[in-house]
Assembly symmetry: D2
Homo-oligomer: 342 residues x 4
């Protein structure tokens, strides 16, 4: 049993992490932190996780590096807001512990891009070169060996998984990519903000954060790597009236002489060995991935306009956050990649 | 008081029509039909409309042309499935009555396009030249005089209103238009189909009907008119977990030498006198138009990619169906255009 | 046109009041206040009300008695939290203006009961005797003449309307009444609280505030009046995953020798002349009253246990708040009671 | 690995069974049947279960007793409509196989009660004495040995678990019990009925099936057993706008001389050893049990009226159906009761 700690356990991603790790057969959660709930039992703070034996009896503690180091945990999951995470990641990593960070703090290779998209300076720039972008389907081997994994974001995962194999294979035009995504409201976090109230989100569909959403920075970083040249895309995220799920629709074009029929087979083949990517002729539906670590992908060719349409669906809290973090952890810890996730 | 009849009054659009017309100050509903509910009182079939005086006591009748002609109605609203509507529209129109058809039967000027997109032959091709496309913001003067108005569809309204003024003014590139729309489930009608069950639609977001949705036929017809050359677009409709509302996000490009800052003012100016189009800097939200006949529009320029993003929101059952039909009727009847709609 | 002011116009009830009054044919809104939004146009603060002519251009002001008195308004609608409302109601009323208060501040005849249920002392106890409980179906004639009407609460309306006629007629056992109600989330107000987030309310049904919800005070006051003796009931409110609507289910017993078949006719007869109460054999459904000022009522006799089950449905923001306030206002102003509400 | 078959695998309960059993560590699903989907792969019929290895590749077959017997399954889960299930249960049971029936067919000890509540005669009356009512918390030892277990219904589970310990202990008045429950829409099954459409259930809360819902038969059977005398209750089920979950609120009275403070401890003590019942001071919330096999229970004493209020929440598809069936199976098969369920 590997001892792990969850730092920031009462946001939506943190709670989902707890739900997965409390049942993970090779893990013992030894510490959970929350500034707000320090001193309370996990089963009281997160009532859906009451009755899960040892985990439910665990007492939330104040987040603090010395106490975390003393907890005996070998792996640390950070489910903190961006900007805050680096303050924990750096000392834990430098003390030789292994860190899976769910925030954006270490997802970018370039500190200037971080400043451009997130504002303010980065708390631990010097660690960026050592951090690995935590999307196992793209960087599995580096993740296995990494000490600091920046688990990929929710929108990025849903956009990168359909696009990267096609860019790598040179099948699509890298400078003609437009993306429309819709996310469930849990994606915005458990924040006491009026705009996230039930009465504001129910029967509401609205775009937000355009044209320069923060996630573009990591999306374009990884697309550029795949295309081996700079890629810039348009991205419009929307808030949809559901708790979980991200649906992504991508408009792009085939490179000249690429046959439309070759796209879906290329995706099938790229993901044939992947346990969590399901490529299919059927159009993805968020309800089919809800509560799972799967990303469903499909494609349609629009012969009237010559455009290729790619579609994906995932659970923003699982494959888009906590599930992905555990998938990364499984790789780092030398476990079967699917442990606790199927 | 103008006597009107509603044919097909128990679908979602029909019910919304009843709701609007039951309160319309210049209208008396003299007949409502429904094959399924003939013989029952309107207030029993549509319980939310019980208690609305005379209307609630009206008895549903079997739909039949002779009885409809005998009802004394001068205007007929047809809220029937496509293919069925023309069987009523033709004899009523030819008997000198004025018809507002909410179906797709008379929206296309070209019968071949109808066959291509809807399959089967058209029941009343000879009337196509006399029908007017019922989007008042585009064809107000023709609608006033028309005997047969084909009220514009829900997706088309949300797509045409942002695009047409920009195409007319030559501001955007007509062959680079991709559209992602999401509709509430009422858009699929009150049909006993498993895929429309609450359990299948809640917490579900999914694309459907791509790449060649039927509504493309009328969308492209009107875009081509605006651009004065053939326009073909990509269109991906989605089903979102809400009862009402359509949100549309459009990716396009500015023509060379067009300034990004000129787009929103162009839209503001195009719709300055329109009572039901609200152009604003704020991003549209379906909940702000729910239950209203408004279409909200905004625009953002993505300078990183050079793309223009247009956004709109409407209530699919009001501006996308029943409200639009009444707006058309108000024009045809020489009433104030907003009567019963504000 | 009667000049009116809306104090506290950006909560859910306040917004609904604005929506109704902006269209009310005999009213001109001359002032809207909101501490938070002072200085902004109504159409910007409440985007669903943009485009409604004069109203949308109205500028929100700071709430303050002198400015309100100077506004020229003859009637004041107070949509403020309880405790705050009395601070406005008292000086406005004492200056000879007429007040419709949507808060609980003046609903109780007895200041001690107010203190028991709401805590703290009442800001204007001396006015309690002059305030009228604003449920028109119970107190219509007093409301017409009143200077200060305490518009009835949402749960109370849904509970009193089915019970009062039966208690008045001595048909049911007053000391055997248990009530289970469920409300949409808008009933909790537009407050930035974590428990009201979409992610906390969606797919959630939960009881709260039992066993001594504040609304019991006014419910029991009015039930006791109807029964002509003290009535105490059990009441369990629930939060249901919907924006609007209250559904109430009441368990009670028939007095000896009362025939089960007499109950529904007694209700039908009690409400035969009421424009906003629909008694029917059909079970009420919140969606049928959503956006309307109706309260739907039905009854079933359970012969296996001898219990009578009463059911009702209303829109908590309309008949439960803003619609009721306007119904009260119509009576006070000598207008047709249904003006602006049908 | 125990070979099992799922008969009727594409309703909501059947799908949930598949989801649980596909991951159950001691089970191999050897047959899944569906009249409608025979010939298709499980991963295609139930796309959320694609990618689950062997299970996803299983091909649906026509339901038929000979083929089921030939499948090698030792346990059969029947997720069929009532009336149909007995036609499978009887021959399978008589051939020596063990059966977990999720329908109502074998829940009643008395065939006359079956006829009264379900209409028509029972297909296999002679087996009623051998069937065990499948609520482990009440009948664990009999379930272990049973060949035919009638897994308890969703509403009954949520009502029996709070009441039975109190009736057994003589703490409450058995003839003063009124129950108000609300269920998510999946409780009505995956049936193509207009009343279950998204547009009819969203923003809708309504009672149905009163005053004599079929589930009363099994509820009263078990309450009477617990009270050792006939118990008749009032029960009002409601449909709430959510996919999953049942919330139950019960009004009853304490027996004379029973202290209000003794109720919660009595429940805590009754369920101290139960892995799936969580008794707490906190009010139950369906979202905390969604996707789990837990039933959460709490109690409040209303000293103003002397009534006791009991509350519970469960997932209708898990503890109310598929999870409970697997819990029963685990007992029958001699496995750890929680296997595959935590």
């Amino acid at each position: 049993m590997i001892p792990v700690a969850i730092v920031g356990a009462n946001g939506y991603s943190g709670e989902e992490l707890c739900a997965i790790l409390a049942r993970h057969p090779s893990v013992r959660v030894v510490a959970v932190t929350s500034r707000q709930h320090a001193g309370k039992k996990a089963g009281d703070v997160l009532p859906r996780l009451a009755g899960h034996g040892e985990f439910s009896e665990l007492v939330f503690s104040e987040p603090g590096v010395p106490a975390l180091l003393a907890s005996g945990a070998e792996f640390f999951f950070l489910a903190l807001p961006h900007g805050l995470a680096s303050g924990f990641a750096a000392p834990l990593f430098e003390a030789g512990r292994r860190v899976v960070d769910l925030s954006a703090d270490f997802r970018l290779r370039d500190a200037a891009t971080y400043r451009e998209f997130y504002g303010g300076s980065h708390g631990a720039e010097h660690l960026l070169p050592q951090a690995v972008y935590g999307l196992p389907e793209l960087h599995r081997e580096e993740i296995r060996k990494a000490g600091l994994v920046a688990s990929a974001g929710c929108y990025p995962t849903s956009i990168l998984l359909p696009l990267v194999p096609l860019l790598r294979a040179g099948l699509i035009v890298a400078d003609d990519i437009s993306v429309s995504s819709a996310s469930g409201v849990s994606g915005a976090g458990r924040k006491a903000e009026t705009t996230l109230l039930y009465g504001e989100c129910n029967e509401s569909l609205r775009a937000y954060g355009l044209p320069k959403h923060r996630h573009l920075s990591e999306i374009e970083q990884e697309l550029s790597l795949a295309a081996r040249r700079p890629v810039v895309i348009s991205f419009v995220p929307h808030l949809a009236p559901m708790t979980r799920g991200i649906h992504t629709t991508i408009f792009t074009r085939l490179e000249k002489s690429v046959a439309a029929e070759s796209v879906l087979p290329a995706l099938v083949s790229a993901y044939a060995q992947e346990p969590f990517v399901r490529v299919s002729q059927n159009l993805p539906d968020t309800k089919n991935v809800s509560g799972t670590n799967f990303c469903d992908i499909s494609a349609r060719y629009d012969e009237r306009t010559g455009r290729l349409i790619l579609l994906s669906a995932e659970d923003n809290l699982v494959k888009g956050a906590a599930g992905q973090a555990v998938q990364n952890f499984n790789l780092m810890a030398g476990l079967e990649e699917t442990t606790g996730l199927l």
